[in-house]
Amino acid sequence: MSNLLLLIPIALFLGLLGLGAFLWSLRSGQFDDMEGAANRILFDDDDVKPSDKSKKFHQDDS
């Protein structure tokens, strides 16, 4: 019994952590362009130097 009292809260906490992470990523627009995200990794920005500003903007893109 006592191990259950410890393990169930831990399991629930980890689950909630995952749920929170998903809701956060949904809100920050990471599910808006699934196709683009899959392809973007193939192009390294070797000849563009994105300024810090544009990096900041990429995040709140929705």
């Binding site: 809701l23 392809n39 563009v48 994105p50 544009s54 893109d61």
Partner: protein
């Protein structure tokens, strides 16, 4: 057609001998784009990209920049940064996304440039002047991409936020379902291994703690819809769902408080989870189709050029025009307003409004309508009507009147729910009364049995039966370039017995083609002259002749023809009157249709006859529709001779010419009053009321904006075969929906007696519910399996959307 020499190094299209930049490029625009990429050191783009043959070739268009006012929809925030949303046309692959973003970010004023590859939209932010936008996006335009600004607030925002809400609910329900199931499995195992009552109660309490708040949140979409339906004194599928979920949770809580063994938290929450998956996928599939349709429409949106009294020009949106303004319409441009010609003389293509396949000559004083295309020379037009007075808004009114019939259509799922809900509720009541009064057990236990009936009959499979099939059917059609916009379109399509076609632009391509076999030398000479003109007949001559070089010294007289000086006087190419050919000239030709004459003093005149050619697969499609027993009608606004000719060629016995928009809609209304269900296929503005009046409607992607809005289904590409494809998929889907209903009823036939007799335990409820849902989903997936087989009409139409569909 011209023989291809090699592919253009920029756009990949064949290079013809005519090209000014041969042999490497098809046009000077492509050569310029290639040079620009070289200068910027971005040539690696050509190695990285993969040309998608379904997407418009990346060929730069010279007049594109001048046509759109980019500043109008841009917004400026508190920091002085400007933001603009743009639709991008011409994205082939991820390399295009990379190129567009790189080109834009090279500009130091650009803060952010992000292309969404799924929706093909670009969000751009920049510092400095608002007007800099033209300079910022010029390199992208020069590559051949088309950029059209749009207002994100006006576009499908409701659908997008609804889908996001569903996804959030889905996440919460998924989390809760997983954890509650974990606890439930332990409890079930405990039945056999002798779990103590205290542990079981603890597990039930933890389940309640997870399931109750999760169901309160994740069930919101269903509760809202159920409450809305009850307020309107209707029953939809969400009513029994909400009732089942709430009762199951309430009863389980009561059981938990009393420390009894049966709690249904897992059933309630997994039910919500399954249903939300169905809802979300359904919403996403329809959202994809709708956003693709909006994408197509926005690309056609154009500003109009207003000439101020002092001679300056500016671009405004057509809605902002006021009567009295003078608008300049360049040759080849679409006229954006209703008005009167004040200066200029030009041919205007009115096929989109009247169905007439030959351009009409407009002189000063003539009235022109929004939606038509100016062909040969610039026109100055005085705006005479705006807002509610335009021809377009007249058509919209007709359309709204016609549409009311369709709004009354009740989806099959709601019809089933209407019959199903009272039966279930009566059954449950009967169980309660039966156990309490006749069975002689306590009212609490009788109530438990009654609620178990409600839980077990809660229409999980029934509620999934329609959406799962719809998602797969819509997705399959989307892959074939057929966009299903309306939720009940496929259902209505299965009821169709008659098909009504429009002529110009629907059965035909709307482009005239040379018919007969004229003298080759004359043809080459005439085509050389014609290469100087934009008139559709001139273009047809050039296409028919193949490789031609434009002759010098040719002048065009708008609406009449072309003249060039010859050795023995002027050589003319144009209408019969222009070429001075006697009205009764005896020429061996029995082909009726538009014509061009080539006359030279001292030489017998030559006649070129044209015909608006059919879509290449039109005869096959009509034939196979006939063998399937559809009753077909051709309704056109065009002249009788052309309509009869086409009807006879295709073997459509029932045809009518010179139909006005009202007559077309009335024709369909009459037929539907007789109880017939028709599918209307049309593209013109004049078809819009008929499209709205018909039981179901389809429209090609080349159609007028209003027709695409009115149609249930929009299809892309040149093939009419989309009509058959849509009908076939709709029928197959209907069959699967009915099978799914049968399966879920069969499941109820087995489980209801169990529930009524009081044998249902949480374990049985969970197994029965999940397995019935899975069976229904598996059955729906059969629609996908069959899509690999070749269709009756052969290859699938070419589309630019298959990429999106695959996402």
């Amino acid at each position: 057609m011209n023989a291809p020499l090699q592919s253009c190094r920029h756009c990949g299209e064949p290079v013809t001998a005519l090209s000014p930049a041969a042999p490497d490029f098809c046009c000077s625009g492509c050569a310029g784009a290639y040079a620009l990429l070289g200068e910027l050191g971005l040539k690696s783009y050509y190695n990285r990209r993969a040309i998608d043959p379904k997407v418009r070739a990346l060929r730069p268009d010279e007049d594109e920049v001048a046509n759109v006012d980019f500043t109008e929809l841009a917004s400026t925030d508190g920091d002085g940064n400007h933001h603009l949303n743009l639709m991008v046309d011409g994205i082939h692959c991820a390399a295009c996304v990379w190129l567009i973003e790189t080109l834009l970010q090279r500009n130091p004023t650009v803060l952010q440039a992000r292309v969404n590859m799924t929706t093909r939209r670009l969000r751009l932010s920049w510092q400095g002047e608002l007007g800099d936008i033209d300079d910022i996006i010029r390199p992208v335009m020069q590559m051949g991409y088309r950029l059209i600004p749009f207002d994100p607030a006006a576009l499908e925002q409701a659908t997008a936020s609804r889908n996001k809400e569903l996804l959030r609910c889905l996440a919460v329900a998924g989390f809760a379902a997983g954890n509650v199931m974990l606890l439930s499995v332990s409890v079930w195992a405990g039945y056999f291994q002798g779990m103590g009552g205290a542990t079981r109660d603890l597990f039930h309490w933890i389940s309640a703690l997870i399931a109750l708040p999760a169901a309160a949140y994740a069930g919101l979409p269903f509760y809202r819809s159920a409450v809305g339906a009850i307020r309107n004194r209707r029953v939809n599928m969400d009513v029994p769902i909400s009732l089942g979920v709430i009762l199951a949770l309430g009863m389980s809580l009561a059981q938990t408080i009393r420390g009894e063994p049966h709690a249904y938290f897992d059933s309630a929450i997994t039910l919500l989870f399954f249903l939300l998956i169905g809802r979300y996928l359904d919403g996403r599939a329809r959202g994809q189709a709708r956003s693709a349709a909006e994408h197509l429409l926005s690309l056609n949106a154009r500003s109009i050029t207003v000439v101020e009294p002092d001679g300056t020009r500016r671009l405004i949106a057509p809605q902002k025009a006021v009567p009295g303004m003078i608008v300049l319409v360049a040759a080849g441009e679409r006229i954006g307003i209703d008005g009167k010609v004040v200066d200029g003389q030009s041919d205007v293509d009115t096929s989109i409004i009247t169905g007439e396949s030959i351009p009409v000559l407009n002189r000063p004083g003539a009235t022109v309508f929004a939606g038509t295309t100016n062909i040969s020379a610039p026109l100055r037009i005085e705006v005479t009507a705006t807002g509610g007075n335009t021809l377009l808004s007249e058509i919209v009114r007709l359309m709204e009147n016609a549409e009311q019939g369709r709004a009354r259509y009740v989806a099959i799922a709601d019809r089933v729910a209407k019959a199903y809900a009272p039966v279930v509720h009566t059954l449950s009541l009967a169980t309660f009364i039966g156990w309490w009064l006749i069975g002689g057990i306590g009212w609490q236990d009788a109530l438990m049995n009654a609620i178990a009936v409600l839980i077990i009959t809660c229409p999980c499979a029934l509620a999934l039966a329609v959406p799962v099939v719809q998602v797969i059917a819509t997705g399959r059609l989307l892959g074939a370039g057929i966009l299903v916009k309306s939720a009940t379109a496929l259902e209505r399509l299965t009821k169709v017995t008659g098909i009504i076609f429009d002529k110009t632009g629907t059965l035909t391509t709307g482009k005239p083609e040379l018919v007969g076999e004229p003298d080759q030398d004359k043809l080459l000479f005439a085509a050389g002259m014609a290469a100087n003109s934009n008139h559709p007949l001139s273009r047809a001559l050039v296409r028919a002749a193949g490789n031609v070089t434009a002759l010098p010294n040719v002048s065009e007289q708008a609406g009449l023809g072309l003249v060039t000086p010859g050795p023995s006087g002027p050589i003319r190419l144009g209408s019969r009157a222009f070429c001075d050919v006697a009205e009764n000239a005896d020429f061996p030709s029995d082909i009726a249709g538009p014509e061009l004459w080539l006359s030279e003093p001292g030489v017998a005149p030559t006649r070129f006859v044209f015909r608006d050619t059919m879509r290449s697969d039109a005869p096959d499609v009509i034939d196979s529709l006939r063998t399937r027993g559809f009753e077909m009608t051709l309704l056109s606004g065009d002249r009788e001779s052309t309509v009869r000719q086409l009807a006879e060629t295709l073997g459509i016995p029932d045809w009518q010419a010179r139909m006005s928009p009202t007559q077309k809609a009335a024709h369909i209304q009459t037929r539907s009053d007789e109880g017939k269900c028709d599918l209307m296929v049309g593209d013109g503005i004049n078809d819009a009321p008929a499209l709205a009046a018909a039981h179901a409607s389809m429209s090609p992607a080349t159609a007028a904006e209003i027709s695409q809005n009115a149609a249930d289904i929009v299809f892309q590409g040149d093939r009419l075969g989309a009509v058959i494809e849509a009908i076939d998929v709709a029928r197959k889907a209907d069959q699967l929906v009915r099978q799914n209903f049968a399966l879920s009823f069969a499941y109820n036939v087995i489980t209801i007696p169990l529930a009524v007799s009081g044998y249902v335990t949480p374990l049985i409820a969970a197994i029965a519910m999940s397995s019935s849902s899975l069976v229904v989903i598996a059955n729906a997936l059969r629609l996908h399996v069959n899509s690999g087989k070749p269709d009756l009409v052969g290859a699938k139409p070419v589309t630019k959307l298959s990429q999106q569909a695959g996402s």
